[in-house]
């Protein structure tokens, strides 16, 4: 399994006061990137619709981080091993 961290800016709103802010995390099956994409789509369809393209790449405006390193190359060939930690974050932008 791999651990998928969801940053606060992509998580569900917590407008009501809650406890200490901690990153939301979920477990996904390890394996080839398309399998991970499928799992993300299944477990959090709203998030997937925003951060992933239809072909399964990371959408413009977002970055993929695996094991504390930003993935610069094409992610389609990525293979995630058990214990890997994965995160997708937005890159702040505006006018």
């Amino acid at each position: 399994m791999v651990r998928f961290l969801v940053p606060g800016h992509l998580a569900e709103p917590t407008f009501a006061a809650s406890g200490p802010a901690v990153p939301q995390a979920m477990l996904l099956p390890d394996g080839a990137w398309p399998d991970v994409v499928q799992a993300i789509r299944r477990q959090c369809p709203d998030l997937a619709a925003r951060v992933l393209t239809q072909t399964g790449t990371v959408a413009a405006g977002f970055a993929l981080v695996v094991n504390d390193a930003v993935v610069q190359r094409n992610c389609e060939s990525l293979r995630l091993r058990p214990g890997d930690e994965l995160c997708i974050i937005a890159t702040v932008a505006g006018g």
Binding site: G8, T14, A17, A21, V70, G94
Partner: protein, 495 residues
């Protein structure tokens, strides 16, 4: 339902502004962070690197128009690496992103189309704070939330009893209900919107207690004095405006007659005839559709719903007030260079604008009058097709960042110049983003105490075409000034 305010403690606000100011002219952007409740940020985190001009991004920004081609400091994009470092930092501190923020160097604190596009793509659940540094001595903060397919401005609660940045300041009660005569009018003719009403308990902007009638008259006698040239001796127009408001509010018609009609405002009729009358255009008024239909509201705040408004006939100046005209009241405004004489007067507060208007026998236009005059019968977004806008307006597509003399573009169908672009123009109304939902049909003016934010319209030399739209609404505090903020005169139609 009232909007939930975002709590921005004074200390956090000051620290954020100090940081943004220290980085000028560089743009600042980042996150505001909370411990869990996203309405209560407790800290902020800034990004250092901006790859807006990198290959891939530059082209995308420049596709938004000439402003983004001429200003490579307009727009921002964080790097993926820094975004990740920031994210880890946020987690390590046990905080969460409450909102995103960025600063504007030249523009007001408005939420433009590019902000909407890039924010909603990334952060549909975060609010967005924009800090305008167009007057660095008076930064303006506005917070926007994307909800229900539209954008709403959220009030800011800085922990004091009132928020200076609230878009929805409370109404003050109606002003005097007095016969319509020169002596008994309120500050702005046909206006019941702006008595200072200092004793109004619902008015947290003004903690003063209502002074006695005698004290009010004594104060007016002291402040409403003319110098030898017949100009106001007191140069602080907020003080002058307050003295006039209070004098009307105290209801002593004899004092109004003596101190205003035959005192401070003596000669107004002559000044109007000599300097203003020839430039005024009679407008028939009647019924028109004000605002933007819900279906078209996109990212524009406060423009909906579209609603029918009926206006009485009035007169509107064909051009904004110029330096040479404003110098009639304040000789410090005398332009040093001849070329500046016909430039629109700028760095004018709402208080100064309304005092000048009254001193010239006029008033500021209401927001409804302004919109009616700007549209000139067009139901479109501008008085003309957007492709023709450069013929009518000096704005970001053709002004080159330079203020231009008034009336050097084509007028609209009503013979009025520069309503699009040039300088933002003060209107009489208090800004209320929900006013259109409850405004009266006939001659609407949003009432408010003099500390309330006031409406500005029309865009400026820096404005993108969307900000120059006929129905675009902006607001600033009444003592705010900016190098692209001016005004024009209006007047009731004489029967």
């Amino acid at each position: 339902m009232p909007d939930a305010a975002i709590g921005l403690p004074r200390a956090l606000r000051e620290r954020l502004l100090a940081t943004i100011t220290a980085r000028l002219p560089q743009k600042s952007f980042g996150y505001l962070l909370s411990a869990g409740d996203r309405r209560r940020p407790i800290d902020f985190l800034l990004f250092d690197a901006n790859i807006r001009n990198s290959e891939g991004w530059r082209e995308q920004f420049e596709s938004y128009g000439r402003y983004f081609q001429e200003h490579d400091d307009a727009g921002f994009v964080a790097t993926a690496e820094e975004s990740w470092r920031v994210q880890r930092d946020i987690w390590s501190r046990g905080l969460v992103e409450a909102g995103a923020f960025h600063s504007h160097l030249r523009h007001p604190a408005n939420f433009s189309g590019i902000d909407f596009d890039l924010h909603t793509q990334r952060f549909p659940r975060l609010w967005h704070l924009i800090v305008s540094m167009r007057n660095a001595a008076s930064p303006q903060l506005r917070i926007f939330d994307i909800c229900g397919g539209g954008v709403r401005e959220l009030p800011i609660d800085d922990g004091s009893s009132c928020s200076p940045d609230s878009p929805d300041s409370p109404d003050s009660p109606d002003a005097l209900d007095m016969p319509d005569s020169a002596d008994s009018d309120s500050f702005d003719a046909r206006d019941s919107s702006s008595p200072s009403n200092p004793s109004n308990p619902a008015n947290p902007h003004d903690a003063r207690r209502r002074p006695s009638r005698d004290a009010t008259i004594a104060r007016a006698r002291q402040v409403l004095v003319l110098d030898r040239a017949g100009r106001p001796a007191c140069r602080d127009m907020r003080v002058v405006a307050a003295a006039i408001d209070d004098l009307y509010a105290c209801g002593d018609r004899e004092a109004v007659h003596d101190l205003l009609t035959h005192g401070f405002l003596a000669g107004a009729a002559q000044r109007y005839d000599d300097f203003i009358a020839g430039d005024m255009r009679p407008l028939a008024g009647g019924t028109f559709t004000m605002g933007t239909p819900d279906v078209d509201r996109r990212h524009f705040c406060g423009e909906s719903p579209a609603h029918a408004v009926e206006l009485s006939p009035f007169r509107m100046a064909s051009r904004p007030v110029t330096n040479v005209l404003l110098a009639l009241m304040d000789d410090r405004r005398q332009p040093a260079a001849r070329s500046a004489a016909q430039m629109p007067a700028t760095d004018v507060s709402w208080h100064e604008a309304r005092v000048f208007a009254r001193w010239m026998g006029c008033r500021l236009p209401s927001e409804a009058e302004w919109e009616y005059a700007c549209a000139a019968g067009s139901a479109g977004e501008w008085c003309c097709d957007e492709r023709l806008l450069p013929r009518h307006a000096w704005y970001s597509e053709n002004a080159g960042g330079t203020l231009r003399p008034v009336a050097t573009r084509e007028p609209n169908a009503f013979g009025l110049y520069d309503l699009h672009g040039g300088v933002w123009e003060w209107c009489r109304d208090r800004y209320d983003q929900d006013f259109y939902r409850r405004s009266p049909r006939l001659d609407p003016v949003a009432p408010g105490d003099p500390a309330s934010h006031r409406v500005c319209r029309g865009g400026s030399l820096h404005a993108l075409s969307e900000m120059c739209r006929t129905r675009y609404r902006l607001h600033e505090p009444p003592d705010f000034i900016a190098p692209d903020l001016g005004f024009r005169l209006a007047r009731d139609e004489t029967p």
